[in-house]
Symmetry: D2
Subunit: 265 residues, 4 copies
């Protein structure tokens, strides 16, 4: 970019600036490592189906769903954000529903909340519908009597509040190890990359996209009984994904590196 006065300001994202230093988002790859508290549950299959865009079907296990709490570290490829804990940490709550594309099992994320703006915006670049919420989950310590030890089982709670209202509460008591990760955390996500219409005559773009991920790492995975409650229903669409049955809970640490997206053909 030899002549910036010709080419103008630049950056992976807004804000654009002379040397691209002000971009809110760094370009991928993005590295993540987090503590996960997850609950398998079931939704009404008919209501779940209405969240799937053309091209996706409910697949082999209609109504399979999961609620996922996670506390993440993230960093760009140079790791610069790790020196500033306020920037490299965020908490997340996700809902997954099982689906298929041409027989390939995928997970669909109809709702997601995070507690920082950078991961929220990064979600929208991917087509992941992240909004801002207040998310908390149990944090293990190596000593004392205030809860579980890092990497071990025990009681883990998670809560989501949105706009000052409590939306989701989960409680998992993990008691034994399990060899395989819970299915919905071990298959690719499929998002609808969406561009809201703004300019007159603009047709909003939408495209089905999966992610290119590597560096996947699971810690030992603990499982046990779980509780899951949806309290404030936000709106009647969201209410369609409330639990009709609650399954097993899981706790584990998980890492991945996210490189970009791929169109589903």
């Amino acid at each position: 970019m030899a002549n910036p006065t010709v080419t103008g300001p630049r950056g992976y994202s807004l804000p654009l600036s002379p040397n691209g230093l002000s971009s809110m988002l760094t370009p991928p790859p993005w590295h993540f490592a987090g503590e996960v508290v997850m609950v398998d549950y079931r939704v009404d299959p008919e209501r779940a189906a209405r969240f799937l865009p053309p091209g996706l079907t409910l697949g082999a296990d209609p109504g399979a769903a999961a609620a996922v709490f996670a506390e993440w570290n993230w960093c760009s490829d140079d790791g610069a954000e790790l020196a500033e804990p306020q920037r490299c940490q965020f908490a997340e709550f996700l809902i997954f529903i099982a689906c298929e594309h041409r027989g390939r099992p995928l997970a669909r994320c109809p709702y997601a909340w995070v507690d920082k703006s950078v991961p929220m915006m990064r979600g929208w670049v991917q087509g992941m519908p992240k909004q801002l919420g207040s998310i908390h989950q149990t944090r293990p310590k190596l000593v004392g009597r205030t809860g579980p030890r890092p990497g071990e089982g025990g009681r883990f709670d998670g809560t989501l509040s949105v706009n000052g209202r409590r939306v989701v509460e989960a409680s998992v008591t993990t008691r034994e190890l399990v060899a395989k990760p819970p299915l919905l955390h071990d298959i690719p996500l499929v998002h609808t990359k969406t561009t809201p219409a703004w300019i007159d005559g603009e047709v909003p773009g939408t495209a089905l996209v999966t992610s290119r991920v590597d560096g996947v790492e699971f810690s030992p995975i603990h499982t046990g009984p779980a509780q899951l409650r949806f309290l404030d229903m936000i709106d009647s669409d969201f209410a369609g994904l409330a639990p009709v049955e609650v399954g097993a809970g899981y706790t584990f640490h998980y890492a991945e590196t996210l490189h970009g997206g791929e169109l589903l053909d």
Copy 2:
């Protein structure tokens, strides 16, 4: 959209949902009314020019800039958000630099911060580079000795903090009425609508866009001497827009309705 079970989930923005009820953003028009504390200032014209994309030039008054604090109410066309003060209020800090497109005076907003996620995301739909920050400004009361009266002059202060660091401080003492609004608050904004590349081979979209606005309303406008300081410089691109000279301050209330965007030809 006659058959949603065929066409899939919908909404003006993510999250898409069966009836479009979960969309984070409502479609325009969006109505705004806010209290503004504004400081005219000057930047180094050469550094300002490096923030302008091809097609824009500095124009008749190279280096003219403004720092704008505002506390807004907003609502959709049905006014539903007004019943929930937590949702319809936000604070904003903007930098404007004067520019021209084919001789037409415009304002360019290279940096913007808000304290809520909905206006942040709405900014990105327009190409406005809004990030999350902590923004505060003087709030008048009708009684007592804690500052000015609503709609009158007096001392107004504004502060911006980002990631726990103080970035901007302004102080305006307005003493007299002025007939005309400050120029940079009275000309159209021009944004670069930007789509970060995500999918392999994707060419990031960029387009110069202005906004279709009506319902503009100014309260009486007060003016007087001002101070403006940039403290933490964030990055060396941002530092290029630090004040080299500080001009007059202004306080006023302002309203507008935002309908959509128009491509600059």
Copy 3:
């Protein structure tokens, strides 16, 4: 205080420091000016009585209560805080119940929430049970279509959330002026100054205290119909003050200066 190495660090409150500069609280007087949204309501008199300490009775109108939202500016006698809007502003939600001491009408504040730590701690110095919450209320603007004008009637909403749960919602539509302030905002407050026991054998101090206030100022007072709902009940004691009947609403600006406390004899 000639020899600080002998007398040690000082300050009106913690933290004590060599020159008293670090004290979290400035000494009174404290000046306040705020916008008030208030709803008269009634509680079960028997349950209200259980919130009154010995020496206080329900008085002439058993079960009279009020819910009060306010957005305040405050400053010390030198006004220093006004230059920093982040420090001089806070929002508050209060419950008042009517009571009497030896025939003198007083207001009792069994619950209070603010959104900043300095007014919270200042409350405890007085015996006012302030906790941290998230409080929002309608903010008028001079222009536009996003709500009422400053100092005029219209629709005003208020919300209180505590620990991510919505606790109180109020809505007032004020339509006419009223000559007299609502009673519970126009009589002295009586608090129980309370010191939790910490040192072995310590008997917690409690004392009935009113406040020395002057500089009281009311803007014109608007009144009209109101709604008031308690949602999350926090605990079964708090639930005892839920509305059994909702009365009129009021909006006004109010100022006072608080000088100190007086023991009720």
Copy 4:
């Protein structure tokens, strides 16, 4: 308490309520477990001495100080808070200076910040000068490349912001185990329990108090080189405790149970 209508509302702290259920603070004992990032440093002994009340002297190592970041879980004796992660977690930043009382080595905490109101208020009950701030520190994960593993050495960063200004930054790279805890985290704290004057003629109470602690537990303690910077100086008293020399850093988990206070005779 047979007749609550006679004895009135009760509680360990404000708010008092019929059955004591609304008390903001639960009575001790309080159990704590946390992750600590600590930096030994030195202050100007003469300036440190001015922070000591009568009865305390600098002792054997004048000017020894420490900066301590910690992320805590806490709970009451019944553990009820652990089911609500939002309530049982808080972050803290402390400054310690070494001192002596009649030859007994003690640690003095002239400044402390936490990010929740309950631990802040609990601090004041003890005489610990806790204020609200924004505190962040590195969080280890069991997998991935975003930082250290729980309970192991590595790079740990900590930051403190107050009122939107960055006040302290620390960085510790722990590389080896050390047998003994850092001295200032292994001796009793001595506080000045302080009651601000409110009622006319009131003499503010002050008393030197230590704490009754048991259940102390340290994880293995890692040590290594450290950096520590004070950025915004808040006030000129606080500036007196800025580092003149920076020593070793430490990372460890720590637990204790706090039972109450004891007057220093």
